[in-house]
Symmetry: C2
Subunit: 312 residues, 2 copies
DNA sequence: ACAAAAGTGTTCGTCTTACACCCATGC
DNA sequence: GCATGGGTGTAAGACGAACACTTTTGT
């Protein structure tokens, strides 16, 4: 910490976006930095203890949160931690590897849970990504007016076209997978708190969703987009479901993740066509109304074979 | 190098799969390790000199090979360099970040080219991935018989089903994007040289494509799969084309990358529907036959907007 | 019996796939 | 004038999107 002997140490950090769904709410495991901003759980990679990056990640997530991770996928490696390292820097340069991990909501409380950690709804950080009840209110109220001003400062129509394309304006289809691109557009336009913090803009502060520390909201955006895309070609949704579930519950979960409303009949036909589930024989007696048949995921079908997802 | 003072240093290596296409041959830039096996070009990441990983990559590739990189995309970060680091290891632990990069074949020869470096056809390393002239001959001759034996040693039918699915057996469609999964299956089955080298098998040697040093063939497989997938939703193919090209040349390039034969008429309609190209007005007078109209990529359409690819 | 949620059958339009033919040039 | 590759129109089929209605329970 004092002697600047080796030129610069390199440290590898692992940052995880740990996702669960409760009811119709997609959740993300966060902790809280000193400044009060939410952070994603982060741990160091120690090559002495762990053979691979993923094993290292599983180990410290288990130690710190007790959340048993199901599916884990590497997202991206970030080498630029905000600023450029300079000769003479005594802090080690941190390279961080972002991960997406899925866990079941019921298993939320492990033994040794970090008291600061907790699951939060991910749309609190990305209110413009929830289109389940149609176009989000925030969008027309605050986001689009300010984005239009920003796009207007562009000589060509490139910004305007990008805006139209990414936010599904005048007839353009909304592509829910482009979460990261939307976040980056808002960052460029100086409308998210992170852009102010990084000194990229002088725009007045605006609460466009809650900010996160470092570039963690960017990592979360990457995770959301990746998960939304993955749903369609891999059966990862079942990592978020309990052992037995109704088809409506499955649909609610897919809707929660993808942020869009789905057609009930088409969804059911789709699920049936994939043959990924089978009835357990039991029924769930809901609050009021007809009881629903319970299904389970046919793990055997997928075990060793690349299996399809739900192309919603 | 002698005193084991800091517990273990971590080093970050950048490994690039640099792709070009000449005529109908997809090429990969390789160099040669001491043992004679081909390697992908690799360089260290120095956080003092470069702000981001990608800038670091571009810098040393430019220095060493003179190849001007167009599109660059991060693939994956590998933490396990074959074996587990142990306390007392004096070598720094190397974590490597794999990249896919595209360059134009014509620009192949830069100034300060490494004499050992050169472009090689990528199907020399992956003969089973070239389905342009129908199912590859090697497949039925040597690969499938040995894989069938391997699958037969499985009590369930999981291996057999996976085999059927990945290699497009009896009616199953061949999915050209699953390059990595096919390579990993061959590795598991002990049929590639790398599996023998890692001590994973006692199978007799077999020349199933040329082997590469370290896990470089695995990185190349990742790059191939990613590029094949990317073609379909981003206009990256034009990074491999000269400024002006005929539609047939474009089709040959797409076919070279994706490893499949395409329908001429459908390909043309597809290209037209995307509006990604426009005629230059000139024609190319080929060896024999009707001259072909030349086209150029409409860079303006894509400049700032997420644009579609060629969904072949 | 009535509300509330589960569950199903059918039609319509678009997008993909395939086939067969004509055109312009060099030798 | 014929071989060679360039270029196009049209029909059949597959797939996804939208629709409205019946069924079964709890209160």
């Amino acid at each position: 910490m004092s002697a600047p002997q080796p030129p610069l140490t390199l440290e590898l950090g692992l940052t995880a976006a740990i996702v669960a769904v409760t009811g119709d709410k997609p959740m993300i495991l966060t902790t809280r930095a000193a400044q009060g901003e939410a952070t994603l759980p982060t741990g160091p990679f120690d090559p002495l203890r762990h053979r691979t990056l993923e094993l290292g990640l599983r180990a410290w997530v288990d130690e710190q949160t007790g959340a048993p991770l199901g599916y884990v996928e590497q997202l991206y490696t970030f080498g630029d931690r905000g600023r450029h390292a300079r000769a003479g820097d005594r802090d080690p340069h941190v390279v961080s590897v972002g991960y997406l991990a899925l866990t079941r909501a019921s298993a939320e409380r492990g033994g040794r849970a970090d008291p600061l950690a907790g699951f939060r709804g991910w749309y609190e950080f990305f209110p413009w990504e929830d289109w389940r009840a149609g176009r989000p209110a925030d969008l027309d109220a605050t986001i689009l007016p300010r984005l239009s001003t920003w796009a207007g400062r562009d000589r060509g129509a490139q910004r305007a076209e990008r805006l139209r394309f990414l936010f599904g304006l005048d007839g353009a289809p909304f592509d829910e997978e482009r979460t990261l691109e939307r976040y980056e557009l808002l960052y460029e336009a100086g409308l998210v708190e992170e852009a102010r913090r990084d000194g990229r803009t002088r725009e007045p502060a605006s609460r466009l969703g809650e900010a996160m520390a470092f570039d963690h909201r960017r990592i979360l955006a990457t995770a959301m987009g990746r998960l939304r895309a993955k749903l369609k070609y891999r059966p990862v949704i079942f990592e978020l479901m309990p052992a037995a579930f109704t088809l409506t519950a499955l649909q609610r979960t897919v809707e929660a993740i993808s942020g869009r409303h789905l057609h009930k009949q088409n969804f059911r036909r789709l699920v049936e066509s994939t043959a990924l589930v089978e009835p357990t024989g039991d029924t769930a007696h809901a609050t009021g109304g007809r009881p629903a048949a319970l299904y389970r995921f046919r793990r055997d079908v997928v075990a060793e074979r690349p299996a399809p997802g739900l192309r919603v």
